[in-house]
């Protein structure tokens, strides 16, 4: 820590990955995250790392599978349509219990969609980034500094739980510049990856990285074992910020860049005498269910704000479980909600009898 740099989110995330021991990056150009690849291509050759521009998103994620199988910290990044292409590989990585980090700088969809910021891939990230029963650790930073801080968390948690971690950002975070401090560069933790395919050196039985189990009961058991690990993740790794929630009657819930807009609206509401607060999930999987459930006990109502037609709102409703009303406000397709719009929604709730 120490020196502050003014940096784009995309460049900061690349530097943060390198400082957390990621020496192998496999990418493919797509707006609005291409600066990640550009930065990696500039730095990696100078430090003996790998930057490889793959022939496709599909190839890139499979290169990550190959590298991560060999025990190194490996990463790929993309934006929404490219992440869809990676989903096959992500499922294999999860099914093979291999750690890695993936970055999604979300843009509007579906299809080719647009190139402006969006949060419409929440369901994909938290429910089904590929076929089969599996989860990713999903981290949702709200500032460029938090992108940097969560990068180390992502690699550490991925290694600890042997599962892929996804940084769920959006075009606004990727493109904006903010002051940022970096941690000291550290090597990836050595050893401990006794599953890695680094060659037997004639000293042990072959390691096999595999997701195929043709005996149904055996496959079921591997999945149950993996889900037991997911339970630990849920117990230990929930991260959430509560802002002005102590006496709040109207609780807003938002993540990522949207949470910044909502925080502004909460401040405006407070200035007008409305007791508003914000719960900002930092991990969207595992989801801060307990925090939200507890807040719902005393809140008059909740307002979920997303850059989508309403995806996280379903998790909020499950957490609230009827304890209070949950309403939703969203802009989508690349349109960013304004603080004034959100304030109007807060006022609607505050004025109502609920």
């Amino acid at each position: 820590m120490g020196q502050k740099f003014l940096m784009k989110g995309n460049e900061a995330i690349a530097e943060a990955a390198i400082r957390n021991g990621c020496m192998h990056f496999f990418g493919y150009p797509i707006t609005p995250q291409t600066e990640v690849s550009a930065y990696m291509s500039k730095v990696m050759p100078k430090i003996g790392g790998t930057f490889l521009q793959a022939e496709s998103e599909i190839a890139a994620i499979n290169m990550v599978l190959g590298a991560a199988s060999c025990g190194v910290r490996a990463m790929t990044s993309s934006s929404s349509p490219g992440i869809s292409l990676k989903s096959e590989g992500v499922s294999y990585i999860a099914g093979s219990d291999v750690p890695c980090v993936i970055l999604n700088v979300m843009r509007g969809g579906p299809g080719l969609g647009g190139i402006q910021p969006s949060q419409a891939d929440y369901w994909q990230a938290t429910k089904a980034l590929g076929h089969g029963d599996f989860q990713l650790i999903v981290l949702a930073p709200a500032t460029v500094q938090e992108i940097v801080d969560l990068m180390g968390t992502a690699f550490d948690l991925a290694d600890q739980y042997r599962m892929p971690a996804l940084i769920l950002a959006d075009g606004m975070l990727g493109q904006m510049m903010e002051p940022v401090e970096f941690p000291e560069k550290k090597e990836a933790p050595a050893g401990a990856k006794d599953y890695a395919t680094t060659g037997t050196q004639g000293k042990r039985k072959p390691n096999i990285i595999n997701s195929l189990y043709l005996q149904a009961p055996v496959l079921e058991q591997t999945i149950r074992d993996r889900f037991a690990r997911y339970e630990q993740v849920k117990q230990n790794e929930v991260r959430v910020e509560e802002y002005a929630c102590d006496d709040a009657e109207i609780i807003t819930v938002a993540y990522g860049a949207t949470a910044r807009v909502v925080k502004g609206a909460v401040d405006m509401a407070r200035a007008e005498g409305i007791k508003a607060g914000l719960i900002r999930p930092i991990t969207v999987w595992p989801f801060p269910t307990e925090t939200i459930a507890k807040a719902a006990e005393k809140a008059r109502g909740m307002l979920v704000v997303e850059m989508s037609m309403g995806q996280m709102v379903e998790d909020v409703r499950l957490a609230v479980n009827g304890r209070c009303g949950v309403s939703f406000f969203g802009r989508t397709g690349g349109v960013v909600p304004s603080p004034a719009e959100v304030l109007a929604e807060i006022k609607k709730l505050a004025g109502g009898t609920n």
Partner: protein, 249 residues
């Protein structure tokens, strides 16, 4: 006289391959070559999706099982992570020449220092005998019940010839294992391919024309005859590229 015994390049697992299938021979050759080159301890194999999907149980070295067609990308990641490892893929024709064509072509053109063992048996074996990219014109399969009509289903693809045009390819040779002299030639080619990787020469591929008696609907001996009479004329044996002296870069 040397004793005939199982190579240490293979595990004790029993092959699941059908009677008369030549996968077993090719496995053995790869295992023998790795043993003879003394590279089993640093070998990392990549298994495909297809009949050889369980190759990870058979080769006596570290193995990664790849998504369908992605073996060259997985192998690229493995080799870049640890260049001291000897990385090879073992892929069938659907895996390598249909769904994974892009991965194959680009690993080759990057001159990725890996070795690819390519089993061409002109059919999809594991899923029960559908048309492969290498299925011959007129050949009957489950999805070309009237024979492959090239006006609708296109032409069978010659991968060795195609890959030989790429600057990153150090070595590309097509062999077969249908008789003893050819088995010996195939082994020499596989050895040369691994040797090229050991010396950092670039991408190496050995295409092995193989039989699939089960899905061809032939007895093993007839299958060998069919391969010789039908496949070799379309897929001539021989070396299509050899830059193993100087390397590709």
């Amino acid at each position: 006289m040397a004793e005939f015994k199982k190579t240490s390049g293979l595990t004790d697992a029993v092959f699941h391959y059908c009677p008369g299938c030549t996968h077993g021979i090719v496995h053995r050759l790869v295992g023998e070559v790795m043993e003879e080159l003394g590279i089993l301890g640093k070998a990392v194999g990549v298994a495909p999706v297809g009949c050889a999907v369980m190759a990870y149980d058979y080769f006596n070295c570290d193995m990664i099982q790849a998504p369908h067609g992605r073996a060259p990308a997985v192998a690229t990641g493995a080799k870049r992570a640890n260049p001291a490892n000897i990385v090879f893929t073992y892929q069938g024709d659907g895996d390598l020449a249909a769904i994974g064509t892009a991965e194959t072509v680009h690993a080759a053109t990057r001159g990725e220092n890996i070795t690819v063992i390519f089993i061409n048996n002109a059919i999809y074996g594991m899923t029960g005998g559908q048309m492969a990219p290498t299925t011959l014109a007129g050949q009957v399969t489950q999805t070309t019940p009237y024979g492959r009509d090239v006006t609708r289903a296109g032409f069978p693809i010659r991968m060795s010839e195609m890959l030989a045009t790429l600057d990153g390819v150090a070595y590309a040779e097509r062999v077969t294992v249908v008789d003893v002299p050819n088995v010996r030639k195939a082994k020499a080619a596989i050895k040369k391919a691994f040797q090229a990787q050991l010396e950092g020469k670039g991408f190496s591929i050995v295409e092995v024309l193989s039989t699939c008696p089960t899905n061809w609907g032939l007895a093993p001996v007839e299958a060998v005859k069919w391969l010789k009479e039908n496949m070799i004329p379309h897929y001539p044996l021989g070396c299509y590229q050899d830059r193993t002296e100087k390397g590709v870069f």
